[in-house]
């Protein structure tokens, strides 16, 4: 990828889907404010356009400067004729990650992993550079969430594919989303246990930003690190849901300050406002402050003065 930087430490609250055959949108990918983009070669692309889209995405990866954006490419599933071609064309262009659909088991990941490694070697790339974001889109995949997440060091995220999953579960997607509650919990816990990111599925109704906000708020509270968007107008709504509460932000900063002080003074025990604070709480505070740094708290800071 042109001017590629290490983006593995960047927050990835939003992933904007852009059809791989839409150059008019890809050229504007940087302006919508999403943390990452998903160039789609799978569902958004008709069979007759698969070859053209794959070549177009490759050209963009080679020629276009995506700046700070995390760039991932969703390829077609392993059971399609496009799978191998997609990897052979896209991996040499060194995207940040490949989004791998329909992962039901660790084995599915390992097969793709082996193929990617082979392509990387053939192209003189350092093996392991191109990450995998594994999509869990079936009941089986959800049950194997942790196994999939730790199937390879290449996996840096697991992500819930809501549309196929609800179909597999034999349920309808509701506005409240309670039918996905268990699956979402499973994905978050599996991801956290394996030390990878957890991404949530798309909100399909472009004309319902309120529904999107409620769902985004819910998945933030569940512990997802990011959510996919199908339209640029959804990006700001998702980011709004990720905005930490100002008081929590202030408290998290004080926890970090206290932790830094304790370390400096060689103390094993950290106390904030007379309460004991331990390791996981410090780690959570660090994550919260990292996310909060993306937002403007000028108004709240003005009020508190």
């Amino acid at each position: 990828m042109k001017n590629k930087k290490d983006k593995s430490k960047q927050p990835c609250r939003s992933m904007l889907y852009i059809p791989g055959d839409a150059p008019g949108m890809i050229q504007n990918a940087c302006v919508f404010g999403s943390d990452s983009i998903l160039l789609d070669l799978e569902d958004a692309i008709a069979p007759s356009e698969k070859d053209a889209a794959r070549k177009l995405v490759r050209s963009f990866l080679d020629e276009f400067d995506f700046g700070e954006l995390i760039v991932t490419v969703r390829i077609n599933a392993a059971d399609t004729v496009y799978f191998k071609k997609d990897l052979e064309e896209i991996v040499p262009a060194d995207p940040d990650a490949i989004r791998l659909p329909k992962c039901d088991s660790a084995e599915d990941v390992r097969k793709a992993d082996a193929l990617i490694t082979e392509i990387e070697k053939k192209n003189g790339m350092t093996p392991g550079g191109v990450k995998i974001h594994a999509m869990l889109e079936t009941a089986l995949g959800i049950e194997n969430a942790f196994e999939v997440a730790k199937a390879s060091p290449r996996v840096s995220a697991i992500t819930l594919g809501g549309q196929d999953l609800t179909a597999d579960l034999g349920v309808q997607k509701t506005r409240g989303g309670h039918e996905l509650f268990y699956s979402r919990g499973r994905v978050v816990v599996g991801a956290r246990a394996a030390g990878v990111m957890a991404f949530d599925t798309v909100w399909t109704d472009m004309n319902d930003p309120e529904g999107l906000y409620n769902e985004a708020k819910q998945i933030v509270e569940l512990g997802f690190t990011g959510k996919a968007a199908i339209h640029p107008s959804q990006v700001d709504v998702i980011h709004k849901a990720y905005r930490p509460d100002y008081r929590e932000y202030v408290r998290a900063k004080r926890i970090l300050e206290a932790a830094a002080l304790a370390e400096k003074e060689g103390k094993g025990v950290i106390a904030v406002d007379g309460k004991m604070v331990d390791g996981p709480i410090v780690a959570r505070a660090a994550r919260l402050v990292a996310i909060a740094s993306l937002y403007d708290y000028e108004e709240e800071e003005g009020l508190s003065q």
Binding site: M25, Q27, N28, C30, V31, F32, G33, F64, H231, P232, S233, D236, D296
Partner: protein, 519 residues
């Protein structure tokens, strides 16, 4: 044609044959500041028959008007693309054998391609307008329609009429509601269009005024008289003023184009950072694209902060009248209603005031409203590194736009923001030098794109506010270079600089630019 160089380095003629002498542009306020009061147009005193002014047909009305070859006729463009009055009158004039007329409408709707034919036939020999589009633009830019064309802003046209540079002999004014004495309104009837702001100036200064209506109401017209009977000489009743579907365009929808929405959001952020969005502020925005979309963010912010603006101005959209309705602005001053969602507001909201074009934007009166604007959002076809704006000539060099109130509001408003996508049709919107200057860069405070905010170096204070608010400020040359890296740089348009297609008048009557024919 004898040319001279104006203050922006553009070559402009000192005289346009068949039209008259012009001074070169000397700066946005040079002529205004130097102005000594002088007498303008002489108001013709006339008497009318008491009571009924009904003429049997357009032809009868033309005969009684005293129209002769070589004279000037005018129309308004409030019926938008639905207007059938201008084509109908021109057809009658053509049949009656007129020739060598000056056509001086407030603007020309896109649909009126027939004007091109009447130029070819010799009926029309001079054209004064706010802009030209479509086939007419092509004919003028190619030289196929070889007549003098003068382009004026809305405020500049009002000034030219009052100063006598446009001397209208007969104004044919479409009247959505009219009584037998000529009292007329734009806000009721089957062809209702809202404000008749541009027509008001014509009615006041034309030597003879013919109202054309499809809705003759019982005398007297009771409500919202836009133009009073004492300015109207004759009334003609026709079956229809035009296509009601194109007159009643419905509410303008806010764009879903994500690039435009990003521009709108950046614009809102700049407005907020500048401090202009405060209680009692005044505001004008455009009718489409990014400009209109600013209202989404503005409305939410004003509601949350309990900010009530003093007035909204200009071409008024349904979104502005809805903000009036919600109490977010105290007043609307409406020279032109952009969509029919506005019509009922004009008709029934006492704080929605119809204004004429002189009140709106004429720089040579005792105080036009654009001078009291705190902020205006304007669009552009292209801009240049000196912040000059072109809204008239397309990337192909062909006339395809209208000056409108662009230069008037930019000069008047404290904060003039131009919104434009950084590239369109694969061509960078930021040029070294715009193909034609409509609005001088000195009056443009910022240009907002989806890829960053460009601030005029003349506005160091605004730059500081934007930086402080951590807005995505970009240096204009840097963004231009970045975009051109993607798009490349197109070959310049080949003009025939010996042939003038149109001259562009600045609002003060000086010539700001010349548009040449394309080769």
């Amino acid at each position: 044609m004898k040319m001279t160089e104006n203050a922006l380095g553009r070559k402009v003629p000192l005289e346009v044959p068949g039209v008259g002498a012009f001074a070169p542009y000397a700066g946005p306020f040079a002529t205004i500041n130097a102005l000594n009061p002088f007498s303008g147009a002489v108001h013709k005193v006339r008497t009318a028959q008491r009571g009924n002014k009904i003429a049997a047909s357009i032809e009868e009305a033309v005969k009684k008007s005293g129209l002769e070859n070589g004279m000037t006729i005018s129309f308004h463009h409030h019926l938008r693309d639905g207007d059938a009055v201008m084509p109908a009158v021109l057809e009658v004039l053509q049949k009656m054998g007129f020739k060598d007329l000056t056509l001086a409408p407030s603007s020309i709707p896109d649909a009126h391609e027939c004007i091109a034919d009447y130029i070819k036939s010799g009926l029309i020999s001079r054209l004064y307008t706010s802009g030209v589009r479509g086939r007419l633009g092509k004919l003028i830019s190619s030289g196929e329609a070889d007549i003098p064309v003068v382009i004026r802003s809305h405020g500049g046209r009002a000034r030219a009429i009052e100063a006598g540079q446009i001397s209208i002999d007969v104004a044919f004014l479409a009247a959505p509601a009219c009584d037998k004495t000529g009292n007329m309104s734009g806000s009721s009837g089957p062809s209702a269009c809202g404000s008749l702001g541009y027509a008001m100036t014509d009615a006041r200064y034309a030597k003879h005024v013919v109202a054309v209506t499809d809705n003759l109401v019982e005398y007297p017209l009771a409500q919202n008289i836009s133009i009073p009977q004492y300015e109207v000489d004759q009334v003609v009743v026709v079956d229809s003023l035009g296509d009601p579907n194109k007159i009643a365009t419905g509410a303008t929808r806010i764009t879903r184009n994500p690039v435009d929405l990003r521009i709108a959001y950046n614009t809102f952020l700049l407005m907020k950072a500048s401090g202009v969005v405060r209680p009692g502020y005044s505001f004008q925005m455009g009718s489409g694209g990014a400009s209109l979309a600013v209202s989404i963010y503005l409305e939410e912010y004003m509601k949350n902060k309990n900010i009530v603006g003093a007035f909204g101005l200009g071409g008024i959209t349904g979104h502005m009248s809805s903000m009036l309705e919600k109490g977010l602005f105290r007043t609307l001053f409406d020279v032109q209603s952009f969509d029919t969602a506005v019509t009922s507001s004009v008709a029934s909201n006492p704080n929605h005031t119809e204004i004429d074009s002189s009140w709106y934007a004429n720089p040579f009166n005792a105080g036009c409203l654009v001078n009291d604007l705190d902020c205006v959002i304007l669009s552009a076809l292209e801009v240049d590194v000196d912040f000059n704006v072109n809204v008239l000539v397309g990337n192909d060099g062909v006339l395809r736009g209208a000056s409108g109130g662009h230069s008037d509001t930019a000069a008047g408003a404290s904060l003039a923001i131009v919104v434009v996508p950084s590239f369109r049709g694969g061509i960078c919107s930021i040029k070294d030098s715009v193909k034609s200057i409509t609005t001088p860069g000195e009056t443009v405070d910022a240009i907002v794109t989806e890829r960053g905010i460009l601030i005029n170096p003349l506005r160091a204070d605004l730059l500081e506010s934007a930086r402080k608010a951590k807005l995505p400020v970009v240096e204009i040359h840097d963004l231009k270079a970045k975009i051109e890296e993607m798009t490349g740089i197109p070959e310049p348009i080949a003009y025939d600089e010996s042939k003038v297609a149109a001259v562009v008048e600045y609002r003060d009557g000086t010539l700001i630019d010349t548009i040449y024919r394309i080769k």
